[in-house]
């Protein structure tokens, strides 16, 4: 799959509304990617603890793509109604456990395989699609509008 294509199994994010983000990343680009996610997440209505969650999830997904998913990827951030979606795609060989990756609690002290597990703990909703041509993970965070 070429980088300018959306992975076929991925969900096409609708045209950017205000505050959305569509950014490619590769090795060495995680610091600026995190800065962009923090800024856009804040503009999309997240703050404090939930903004931290988004930042952590975006980082772990992007670093998985860099380390195990072909070295680069694409991150999209958007809001529809009260839900913020963060989608990270890569064009690697897919996750070893496919869509079940990160379901089991890692053993204490294990250094690998914790990223996706953490993402599953923090997301309100998660979709994992993984195959031989790439991986696409979408996490959703509900914006608390009661405050």
């Amino acid at each position: 799959m070429t980088p300018d294509q959306s992975p076929e199994q991925g969900v096409r994010v609708p045209a950017m509304d205000s505050g959305g983000l569509d950014q490619s990343f590769e090795k060495g680009g995680l610091v600026s990617l995190r800065a962009a996610v923090a800024a856009h997440g804040s503009r999309l209505g997240l703050a404090g603890d939930r903004l931290d969650d988004l930042l952590l999830m975006a980082h772990e997904l992007a670093s998985n793509a860099i380390q195990h998913g072909g070295g680069r990827g694409q991150l999209r951030l958007s809001r529809q109604e009260d839900v913020i979606a963060c989608q990270v795609d890569d064009w690697g060989d897919g996750l070893p456990d496919g869509a079940d990756a990160g379901l089991h609690t890692p053993t204490p002290g294990a250094l690998r395989g914790r990223g996706l597990w953490l993402v599953r703990q923090l997301a309100d909703e998660i979709e994992v699609r993984s195959g031989a041509t790439g991986t696409s993970v979408t996490v959703r965070v509900v914006v608390d509008t009661s405050a």
Binding site: L30, V31, R34, G48, D49, D52, D53, L55, L56, H59, E60, S63, Q67, P106, P108, G109, A110, L111, R114, G115, L118, Q121, L122
Partner: protein, 290 residues
């Protein structure tokens, strides 16, 4: 100026320059200087400028050095620049050297094992008469103290002094003292913390720098008793880096403990990575915008 040394390498006769840009780091080094001196039965004189004397003493206490009894006994003396070298409103190298000479005499008379002096030189950026004698004074200190059991650290804030003055001041000192830095770039700084002993990590850290973290904490686990992980200024930490710290804590045996000071994001990652299952670990959460 020679390669900077760590504060615990300073000994009698050393006249060191500390140029700093981070208050935390300055206070860490100065506290270590005070702590070592008190432990060796030396007299300590601290001239303070940025902080009032009681605030500086409180900073020592906060860093685990119970200074109150030493202040009462006279072993530790904390004085403001206004009450010491600027008393009378102007600075002369002679007046200052006389003042230090008296301190040397007092320490000897009272039977102390030596004298340690440290001074925040920030007063020299104020419009003070005679400040041009600063370099004369610093040079004279070298001669005066060379054969005495006196150890000195002069503190220069990089934000306060212009580069030329800083370079001149640094040149006059026979040695420089600095934090032991494991890693430094615009995003991340990892350095050794002296008091309490451990590691200080500031900025953002992720798996790309996990090796630096592993190295720093391995050293702390090897040489310190309890390990203090000062992550108060760490804005981001990923799962891989949190794993390194948890691993280090798990390696502490014999009742040794690790205390972690961190912001809410870091606390969250540490919890998810299994901190609660590590009995050696205690966490204190600080406000992220502190």
């Amino acid at each position: 100026m020679a390669t900077p040394v760590s504060v615990d390498e300073l000994g009698p006769g050393d006249h060191a320059c500390l140029t700093f840009s981070d208050q935390e780091e300055r206070l860490d080094i100065v506290t270590a200087f005070v702590q070592v001196g008190l432990g060796q039965g030396q007299r300590l004189v601290c001239f303070t400028e940025a902080l009032p004397p009681d605030r500086l003493a409180a900073e020592f206490v906060e860093r685990g050095v119970p200074v109150d009894e030493y202040r009462q006994s006279g072993q530790l003396c904390v004085r403001s620049s206004d009450d010491s070298w600027l008393a009378g409103g102007c600075f002369t190298a002679d007046k200052m050297l006389e003042l230090l000479g008296r301190e040397v005499e007092l320490a000897r008379r009272d039977g102390y094992a030596g004298l340690r002096v440290t001074a925040d030189m920030g007063w020299a950026t104020r419009p003070v008469t005679g400040v041009e004698q600063l370099v004369v004074f610093e040079s004279a200190v070298n001669q005066l103290f060379a054969d005495q059991r006196v150890t000195t650290i002069c503190q220069y804030d990089r934000h306060q002094f212009d580069p030329v003055t800083l370079a001149t001041a640094a040149d006059v000192h026979p040695c420089a003292v600095a934090a032991t830095v494991y890693h430094e770039d615009p995003v991340l700084r990892v350095c050794r913390q002296h008091s309490p002993a451990g590691v200080r990590v500031a900025g953002e850290i992720d798996y790309t720098r996990a090796d630096v973290l592993r190295h720093a904490f391995a050293e702390a686990v090897r040489i310190d008793g309890n390990v203090h992980a000062n992550l108060a200024d760490l804005r981001f930490m990923d799962v891989a880096s949190a794993g390194v710290i948890i691993q280090a804590a798990l390696g502490l045996g014999g009742g040794r403990r690790m205390t972690v000071i961190c912001q809410p994001l870091v606390h969250k990652v540490m919890k998810l990575v299994g901190m609660d299952g590590v009995p050696q670990m205690t966490v204190l959460v600080v406000d992220s915008d502190a």
